[in-house]
């Protein structure tokens, strides 16, 4: 699972029938080790640094833009949450209330 921020929504006028009109979100993983992210991450707080690249994840929980979510990846995760036959590998499994990261622990060269 990855900690991600919802940056947008995706709609398709024509999409695979097996998607069943489910909601698709565009998310970007939080770059926890970038050195610029805040220690406390929440939708109301200071914006976290994000990694490059967008993941389109299927959402059944109703996350909104700007919220942080946990996105799980894999066909097993898809089978366990949506059932087999849904053409996606990334699923939103939780909407994050808050996350706390100890920034000191991310320093390079932690061991001497």
């Amino acid at each position: 699972m990855k900690l991600c921020r919802v940056v947008g929504a995706v709609w398709g006028a024509k999409e695979a029938g097996s998607l069943g009109g489910r909601k698709l979100l565009a998310v970007r993983p939080v770059a926890v080790a970038s050195g610029h992210s805040p220690a406390d991450i929440s939708a109301d707080g200071e914006r976290a640094d994000l990694q490059d690249g967008i993941i389109v994840a299927l959402d059944q929980l109703g996350a909104g833009i700007g919220e942080y979510v946990l996105v799980a990846h894999g066909s097993r995760v898809r089978d366990l949450t949506l059932g087999p036959g849904v053409p996606t590998k990334d699923v939103v499994v939780a909407i994050v209330d808050s996350a706390n990261i100890d920034l000191d622990l991310l320093a390079e060269g932690g061991a001497s």
């Binding site: 990694q51 929980l61 061991a111």
Partner: protein, 134 residues
């Protein structure tokens, strides 16, 4: 399994029902293999009681679900163990083991270097940068 440092925790109330009662840890891997989205963190379910700052072993994939006690929970990774000590042959700790090891000198806090440093990463078999197995 991957070796990483627990750097934080996540709280969520609205979540998949099968994630209830799981403690979620943010782990930064020291040595990653074949990351699915090239991210530098992984959220793992912690049932061994690891604390922020400790080195942990994280199991990715289906065995991680077995460890979590519910093979049908939609998770990707579980904390399997809290690491007391890591021994790496001297000189190999900065070998290009994985993409993130290449970019950083982020190393286990519990690292102990052994040997005389005469050998190379190739000798230790730690030079693979793609593929690999858990």
């Amino acid at each position: 399994m991957i070796l990483g440092r627990m750097v934080g925790t996540v709280w969520a109330t609205r979540k998949n029902p099968r994630l209830e009662n799981f403690k979620l840890a943010i782990v930064r891997p020291y040595f990653w293999y074949n990351p699915s989205h090239d991210v530098e963190h992984v959220i793992a379910v912690d049932q061994v009681g690891a604390e922020v700052g400790q080195d942990v072993l994280v199991c990715v994939g289906q065995p991680g679900r077995w460890v979590a006690g519910d093979s049908r929970c939609p998770i990707e990774a579980s904390v399997m163990a809290i690491v007391d000590s890591v021994e790496i042959e001297r000189g190999t700790e900065n070998a290009p083991v994985a993409p993130f090891a290449l970019r950083s000198r982020f190393l286990p806090t519990t690292l102990v270097r052994v040997g005389d440093g005469g050998s190379t990463a190739r000798d230790a078999g730690l030079h693979e940068t793609d593929g690999g197995t858990p």
